[in-house]
Symmetry: C2
Subunit: 165 residues, 2 copies
């Protein structure tokens, strides 16, 4: 047990983190949303039609060429306020321990969130999108085009997940 | 121009990388595929029905609890042989410069690939999956359940992309 383990819920399990990281990430921009505290974030991105913005650092702006022809994009972002050592966790709205890799919780070894969002427009270095649920100021790490041919699986099921997602 | 720029193709544009990274990643496992050289990898993951394996480090194994009930999962992995400084690039099979964020090329500021794969089974720390196209030994950085409700957008289009993906 270390100080990091303090405050985990009954049924949660934490592991010792590796002594060092293996690769480095650049934060390439920031996500702007209406939500300043975790309690205000929508539980599910599809619950909200709020228009959020993605501010890409100017250094990378030329990389946006051709992106505006995509109807939907994938955003990867860094959930920098999340613990990384939990392998079993108890989401408040489920109440039972689940494996970290069976959840989309931000608490995971590499706290990278992935969201599929609708792209409304691009103006300069700024993208306007619908479909986010993260905190204002969240660091952006990647933008990708969404290809229905490889990314869309309408028949996919998550068996443990019954009534809601 | 730096040494890293050497070898870029006509029409490609590289930027100066930031002086330092902003966050660290743990490699949490390795992906095992039949492909040992880039030229052998399928151009598109849907071209191949090869069964690949994901070897999760034992440290994190308890995090797999409940994942076997998912029919499809999202894998994030680190394309560690890719340049990170290209903002415009010329994919060999297209022949014209495209913005990095309009492509799924491994060359990007943070060379994280995202693949949606079919989960066949989990045995101990090892997952068997179908739908990968990466090199053998690629470092794994995350496993997530795929939720059709938020991740599947069958009607999504990528306008610049005409005949194939």
């Amino acid at each position: 047990m270390t100080a990091k383990d303090f405050g985990i819920r009954a049924g949660e399990v934490a592991v010792e983190l590796p002594a060092k990281t293996d690769a480095g990430l650049y934060f390439i921009g920031r996500i702007r949303t209406p939500w300043r505290a975790r309690k205000d974030c929508p539980k599910n991105a599809r619950e909200s039609d709020a228009v959020c913005t993605v501010e890409l650092d100017t250094r990378w702006a030329e990389g946006l060429k051709d992106l505006a022809t995509s109807s939907h994009i994938i955003l990867l972002y860094w959930m920098d306020q999340s613990p990384r050592n939990l392998v079993l966790q108890v989401p408040a709205h489920y109440g039972v321990p689940r494996g970290t890799f069976a959840l989309r919780s931000p608490a995971r070894p590499n706290p990278i969130a992935m969201s599929v969002v609708k792209l409304l427009r691009i103006e300069g270095d700024t993208l306007s999108v619908v479909g986010l649920d993260c905190l204002d100021g969240t660091p952006l790490i990647d933008i990708k085009p969404y290809f229905a041919s490889t990314d869309s699986v309408p028949e996919a099921v998550v068996g443990w997940h019954k009534s809601k997602d």
